[in-house]
Amino acid sequence: MSDIDIRQLSKSYGAYQALKSIDLHIPDGALLALLGPSGCGKSTTLQLLAGFDTPSGGEIRAGGELISSPQRVVPPERRGISLVFQNYAVWPHKTVAENVAFGLQLRKLARAELEARLSRALEAVRLTPLRDRYPFELSGGQQQRVALARALAVEPRILLLDEPLSNLDAHLREEMRFEIRRVHDELGITTVYVTHDQGEALVTADEVAVMKGGIVQQLGSPEDIFERPSNAFVASFIGSNNEIPGQHEAPGQLRVADTLLHAQDRSGLSGPGRKAVLCIRPSRVRLGEAGGATNNLNGVVRRSAYLGEYRDVLVEIAPNTTLRAFVSPHLHFQPGEPVLVHLPPEHCQIFAAPDDAPRARPL
């Protein structure tokens, strides 16, 4: 067991900067999810942690020991870090038991000890009945368990999971999320879990690091990330979100078209007139009722879709500005119908306009 300390870690491939100086500390026994869209640098971070790549700058320490720096990279086999791959990478020429035992054989353990640890690992992922099967006789989920057992059998200090569930079907994926969390709770190994799926990250992780463009955008608990995102990108990447562009008037106030909206201000902007966005989750938008003194808008329904558990309604609140609302499926809205929109101020947040988002073209 050990903690991981990543300091000013950066990695460039030629002119392309995959990682721009990230700092992360993962406490001993914690499960951290690295979450972000493809190309955000999460997989690069994982490759550097595993020792398959050399950083361009900064360093990684595990349990206080320097394992990666531009000058010195401890080879993967000497790190005590196990990795579970996206495509499982289960060796096709070895049986389930042989796959799991391989790492143990390298450690020259006594026969009884080896057998005991092998059984324990197979037991942990519930593969004991399949121990003599070859991988091609297993389903995707079972192969994933083999990969997990193989990584755990060697009792690593640190476990890395690289999008471990992305090749599984939706149903199995949901089941395996809890499985991974259960195994982590049982063994308490410091774990880094890379994923682009926010559901996976929220379910499994103690802490989530949201990444984009080679930078950690926010590090926090799943609840922090969802309820108190630090910028518009995080707000939109986690869950569904509405981003309404407007002018910053005063702290906590944003002008959208002619209406002044009140919200929690997370923009850090001071002077009036700066561009900013207001974010609100579709599930928090109210339709057809004036819920308070402020934040009421008149809109027109543009589209209404019945999704069983809720109704997804698209409302135009100003020319070229729409927002989505998830409302009770029993409410009926017809396209073209005028509707009163209420945005509860406690669920609205103001962020600085994302400078790298595609801007509206000047007309």
């Binding site: 067991m1 086999e77 000497r78 996206q86 096709p92 390298l106």
Partner: protein
């Protein structure tokens, strides 16, 4: 406990760091040393020698001036160009329609034609030339004897000892290159492309000219280039068929420099250069064409197209398709086997003339042939194995990007592809018949020359096998604690096994039939079958030569069948395995 564990982990990490790099360095140094000895040293000596005078040993440009002065040195170069051009044109004209008939039509006996065209590929062309001497030598050739008996004429129907005869024999043994390239292009081509044209109202012929032919054009061009290179670099056929009449080509002229006393080593080195320049340019052209070819086969499902009905043309088509199988395999094989079973081939194949004497002689009585059979199998086996080991090592370094300069090593092992066998022979002779490495007359020099010649094939084979194995399978082993070497031994090597046998075979077969690389390097003790047959042929004992040739063909066939047997089994087991490791 936690602290003692992390201390020991820190120490093992530091030891591991040093072991890992020390091991890599040792492997790399050995590899580079071997490649320097196999490729850089021989080629370096050719370049160095080409600038030196044979008589005085001084630096000079005179050798090059001499090549391009209109002397006798011009003629072989010109003859080679004529031969190569004719071979390229004829093998394209024969090979492309042949490939189309076999891949796309309902011509009868397609399997037979394919099998025998591939048999022509495995047959050493100089043994084919030998067969054709028996068939069409002006006086004693059976076809000519028959012609004179039937027509009463006193002149021969065919004369194989001529430029036309040489072009003919070279061409029929070069057709398999074009055939293989074009037929696989035709088979890979998605049938939807042709169907799309048909649904737009295009007829069979129109579709062929507007869709099919343009799509296989790159394969045809590459086939043309390879055939041209064959025509330029073949040694055995012109040595057998042209040298008797005093006509020389570049390769036979090079051999002549060696028969002078003392051998004109420096002049011959310079004389290699035009040959290297031409093959180098053509391989560059081939690369450019192949680079573009990928566009045409994208989306190919490998589904066989509908067979085009030839109707009344089936038999004429078959007659055309049988040209190569009959002239390259059936006729020469029959001639060689019959002569090898004859007491004296001039008497013709009549019962009283039949004997197994020459086989008994070759296998049990004659120490020279015994030794050559053993040498051929040992050298080819050893060289193919060594070749594959280097090929795998380099392919592994390149595919897994283990080194920054990996591309340079890849280029180095690919260089021999542009070096004609006879030139490499010159290089090895120059490099290793002097101090400090005097290897002339040893098995080492022959095996080394074979390894160098076939490194490009071994490397590209190993590369394509490795491409099919996901690097994640190896990384998984590293992350549970296996070193680079252990990972290779426990994971990569077992997964490569099936492909390795096929790759080994692709190196072994051409080594068995290789003549020109060995020709200047063998001594009486280290003769292989090909060089022995070449020498015996000069002695004129055709019965013995034919028995030895038949034995060479037979030995190759046995190894091919054995290896096939092994790979079939491995392929079955791998099919399931490969479907897992390769694709995410």
């Amino acid at each position: 406990m936690a602290s003692s564990r992390s201390v020991s982990a820190a120490r093992s990490a530091s030891v591991g760091y040093r072991c890992h790099h020390a091991f890599r360095l040792i492997v790399l140094v050995i590899l580079l040393a071997v490649l320097a000895l196999l490729i850089v040293q021989p080629l370096g000596w050719i370049v160095f020698n080409s600038f030196h005078d044979d008589v005085t040993g001084q630096w000079t440009l005179r050798n090059y001036v001499q090549i391009f002065t209109p002397t006798s040195l011009w003629a072989p170069l010109f003859n080679s160009l004529v031969l190569a051009t004719a071979v390229a044109v004829i093998s394209t004209l024969l090979g492309v329609p042949l490939a189309w008939l076999v891949a796309r039509t309902d011509m009868p006996m397609r399997g037979f034609v394919r099998l025998f065209t591939m048999a022509a590929f495995v047959t050493p062309s100089f043994i084919g030339a030998l067969g054709w001497i028996l068939l069409a030598a002006p006086n004693s050739g059976w076809l000519n004897v028959g012609w004179r008996a039937l027509s009463g004429a006193d002149w021969p129907l065919l004369s194989i000892y001529s430029m036309i005869g040489t072009i003919f024999v070279c061409s029929i043994y070069t057709v398999p290159y074009t055939f293989t390239l074009v037929s696989s292009a035709l088979e890979e081509m998605p049938v939807e492309l042709e169907d799309a044209a048909t649904t737009l109202g295009s007829g069979v012929v129109k579709t062929m000219f507007s869709v099919t032919i343009p799509l296989v054009m790159p394969a045809v061009l590459v086939g043309f280039i390879l055939s041209f290179i064959q025509g330029m670099t073949l040694f055995g056929v012109p040595a057998f068929l042209l040298t008797p009449s005093g006509t020389l080509v570049v390769t036979t002229k090079l051999a002549e420099f060696y028969q002078l006393f003392p051998p004109a080593l420096y002049m011959s080195a310079a004389y290699c250069m035009p040959l290297i320049a031409i093959t180098g340019m053509l391989f560059y052209a081939r690369r450019c064409i192949l680079g573009r070819r990928q566009f045409t086969t994208v989306g190919g499902k490998g589904r066989a197209g509908r067979k085009i009905r030839l109707k009344g043309w089936r038999l004429p088509a078959l007659a055309f398709a049988l040209i190569v199988p009959v002239t390259a395999v059936v006729l020469p094989y029959i001639a060689i086997v019959l002569v090898s079973l004859s007491r004296a081939w001039g008497l013709g194949p009549i019962p009283s003339n039949l004997t197994l004497h020459w086989y008994r002689w070759a296998i049990f009585e004659n120490a020279e042939t015994q030794r050559a059979i053993v040498n051929s199998l040992l050298y080819a086996g050893g060289a193919a194995s060594f070749c594959m080991i280097i090929g795998i090592l380099v392919a592994y370094i390149v595919e897994r990007k283990l080194l920054r300069g990996a591309g340079l090593i890849a280029a180095l092992v690919t260089i021999p592809i542009i070096i004609p066998g006879i030139v490499l022979s010159v290089g090895f002779f120059s490099a290793y018949t002097r101090q400090p490495l005097t290897l002339y007359g040893t098995a080492t020099i022959i095996i080394a020359a074979f390894v160098a010649t076939f490194l490009p094939i071994a490397y590209s084979q190993a590369g394509s096998i490795l491409k099919g194995i996901s690097p994640d399978l190896e990384r998984a082993a590293r992350s549970v604690g296996a070193t680079e070497a252990r990972t290779f031994a426990s994971i990569t090597a077992p997964l490569m096994r099936g492909g390795l046998v096929a790759g080994w075979l692709l190196v072994f077969i051409p080594i068995m039939r290789e003549l020109s690389v060995a020709i200047f390097l063998v001594s009486p003790r280290t003769n292989v079958m090909t060089t022995l047959i070449y020498n015996y042929k000069d002695g004129g004992n055709y019965e013995a030569v034919c028995a030895a040739s038949a034995l060479l063909l037979f030995a190759t066939l046995i190894v091919v069948l054995l290896a096939r047997f092994v790979t079939e089994g491995a392929a079955y087991r791998r099919r399931n395995a490969a479907s897992l490791g390769a694709v995410p």
